[in-house]
């Protein structure tokens, strides 16, 4: 297992080098002078020269690249043009908000998607099955930003039940420990902040989790249907085991591999979806930060956030691969 992990980590190196080159070149692919593009046409020559100097744009391309990589090794992603802070500091401030949202979206997606898939498979070809699968296909076809708007309109604007933006109501105090508000409020025993941050999480989590939920439901159903037909399930029934035991102890365990694969694949969708969801719900995470940086042409920030997103994405995919052994001991890594 350890050998496999090391092998996989080594295999990541060329991919990460490629990602680095691509992100480094991002600023150089921009048509015209990136400094003018950042500052606008009205910028003075001095301002343009200053930006060019600070970004190292006056050096030869390969020197710029090696400097860029060297800085990254020293955890220096440059400074945000917008906030003047270190990009890495900005990322570490905002990333917990995205993590919190992503976790809750995943809880929603798995918590609803897996039971629906199981029930659909058990009641194969029934009206419930048809309804769920049509619903799941609509879920996959639905733009999350539209669902987000509809949720805001219904639950925030019309019913006034849930908040539609930010992470915490103004006036409610919470000390930052991990910057994961739910965890922080539990650690501090702050019940008011806990309920408030939970309320703020509901709508964005549903919006972000809708597509993964539909995909997980579809995969759970088809995987369960395949397993239910196997001889050992028939044998389990023949032995007189209860339906619940057969489904959850025998069938679900064996159907888990494709379900976990699809859950792992959702991480990319969630990270990408977080950009849209955070924009709609004014969620102060990394996705919204990226979009704001794009609007303001803050290219160092764009570079840093895109690099960070892809690193997280690659590492999570690796983690999901490694998780398979825990779920299915038949899989051996050589």
């Amino acid at each position: 297992m350890l050998n496999y992990i090391i092998k996989r980590l080594f295999a990541l190196i060329p991919v990460l080098i490629g990602v680095l080159i691509l992100i480094f070149l991002l600023i150089h692919f921009i048509p015209g002078d990136p400094a003018i593009s950042m500052l606008g046409e009205k910028a003075s020559k001095e301002q343009v020269a200053e930006i060019r100097e600070s970004l190292g744009l006056n050096e030869a391309l390969h020197i710029q690249f090696f400097r860029y990589v060297n800085r990254l090794f020293h955890l220096d992603m440059g400074r945000s043009i917008l906030t003047r802070n270190q990009v890495l500091v900005e990322i570490s401030n905002r990333f917990p908000a995205t993590v919190e949202l992503t976790i809750f979206a995943m809880i929603f997606a798995v918590g609803i998607g897996v039971p629906i898939g199981i029930l659909s498979a058990i009641n194969h070809n029934s009206w419930f099955d048809t309804l769920c699968m049509v619903g799941a296909l609509i879920g996959v076809s639905m733009p999350i930003f539209w669902l987000g708007l509809m949720l805001i309109w219904l639950f925030a604007v019309n019913l006034g039940l849930l908040p539609s933006s930010s992470r915490l109501t103004i006036g409610i105090e919470l000390n930052n420990i991990t910057n994961l508000y739910i965890l922080d409020s539990i650690l501090q025993g702050n019940f008011k902040a806990f309920i408030d941050s939970l309320k703020h999480l509901i709508l964005p989590s549903i919006a972000l989790g809708s597509i993964p939920m539909s995909m997980i439901a579809r995969m759970t159903r088809s995987s369960m249907l395949e397993v239910i037909k196997k001889d050992y399930i028939r044998t389990a029934y023949a032995k007189g085991l209860k339906n619940r035991v057969v489904i959850y102890k025998h069938a679900l365990k064996n159907a888990l591999i494709p379900i976990i694969t699809v859950i792992g694949l959702q991480v990319g969708i969630l990270l990408g979806g977080a950009i849209l969801t955070e924009t709609i719900f004014s969620w102060p995470g990394l996705g919204k930060f990226l979009i704001d940086a794009i609007y303001k042409r803050d290219y160092p920030t764009v570079q840093g956030v895109v690099l960070f997103f892809s690193l997280v994405f690659v590492l999570v995919n690796l983690f999901v691969d490694l998780l398979y052994t825990t779920v299915d001991p038949r899989i051996e890594y050589n």
């Binding site: 990602v19 733009p143 539209w146 708007l149 309109w153 604007v157 892809s310």
Partner: protein, 285 residues
């Protein structure tokens, strides 16, 4: 030769019949026909000019005159949705064409030649897959500038690895087949083998991937336009219409409701058709 032609035409006829017998495929086909009809005959169907603004008519609720109401510029939403179908179809078809052409080419080269070529191409594909797809699209549009044509290109580029992977695995599974050896023994060169043997035998997964890809491309284009990185005002693109609707959610919810339903309709149709085609082209079913 004639026999070959008959056999292959029978295969497509069989697939067609399987598709229209399949509930999912049939409904998908109906959705697609409706969408195509609306897009082609948009000038005849749309009650108003989609760009015709009239500030006196701002935010009118759905009524007999404006079935889906009007937006912040007093434009008829129904007409904009009807014309928007043209943009969405154009985006879907063009971007997937880009992905199909380049993805197929790269996938065939990787699968057929193997070795260094395969390693090189697939590592580049891995690098592209190291980004969540919408993030890569956003990055490309950031570089090229926020325009619809750049969004189309970006969506095309992000879909290349998916096509390359599908075609590569298909080519690998058939490149050692006896009929490929036979073709080679008869003196066929690489290009002939690729064009006349490998490509036709890899068509089924490509067709399914393309259909499902169009659905995803429509969603991705709408997302880019929603973020202001795709179609620009006053183009009646569904995602851009949703973006405009954000500020008027309380006052005029219909401005957001109908473009979203239009997106679901289009994407749902292509998804159904893709699922139906997958079943129809599966020889095991």
């Amino acid at each position: 030769m004639a026999n070959n032609f008959n056999q292959s035409s029978n295969l497509w006829v069989d697939t067609w019949f399987k598709l229209i017998k399949n509930n999912v495929g049939r409904i998908g086909l109906i959705f697609l026909c409706i969408l195509l009809f609306i897009a082609i005959f948009a000038p005849l169907i749309a009650p108003y000019d989609p760009l015709d603004d009239n500030l006196m008519n701002r935010y009118k609720a759905p009524s007999k005159d404006h079935w889906m109401g009007t937006d912040e510029m007093g434009r008829d939403i129904l007409s904009r949705i009807i014309y928007g179908s043209r943009i969405s179809l154009k985006v879907g078809l063009l971007s997937i064409s880009v992905a199909l052409v380049f993805g197929t080419l790269l996938g065939i080269l990787a699968g057929f030649y193997g070795g260094m070529v395969d390693m090189l191409i697939m590592r580049v594909m891995d690098i592209m897959l190291a980004f969540p797809s919408i993030l890569l699209a956003i990055t490309i549009v950031t570089i090229l500038g926020p325009q619809l044509k750049n969004a189309i290109l970006a969506i095309g580029i992000i879909n290349i690895p998916r096509f390359a992977r599908v075609i590569r695995s298909s080519v690998i599974s058939i490149r050692e087949s006896e009929y490929i050896d036979a073709a080679r023994a008869l003196g066929a060169n690489d290009i002939r083998i690729i064009v006349f043997h490998l490509l036709p035998n890899s068509l089924a997964p490509l067709i399914v991937q393309s259909t499902l890809g169009i659905a995803e491309a429509i969603l991705e284009a709408a997302a880019l336009s929603f973020l202001g990185l795709g179609a620009q005002p006053p183009q009646p693109e569904w995602g851009a219409m949703l973006s405009d609707a954000r500020s008027a959610l309380q006052r005029a919810p219909w401005v957001a409701t109908f473009p979203g339903l239009a997106i679901i309709f289009g994407v749902f149709g292509f998804n159904l058709l893709g699922d139906g085609l997958r079943d129809a082209l599966d020889p095991k079913i």
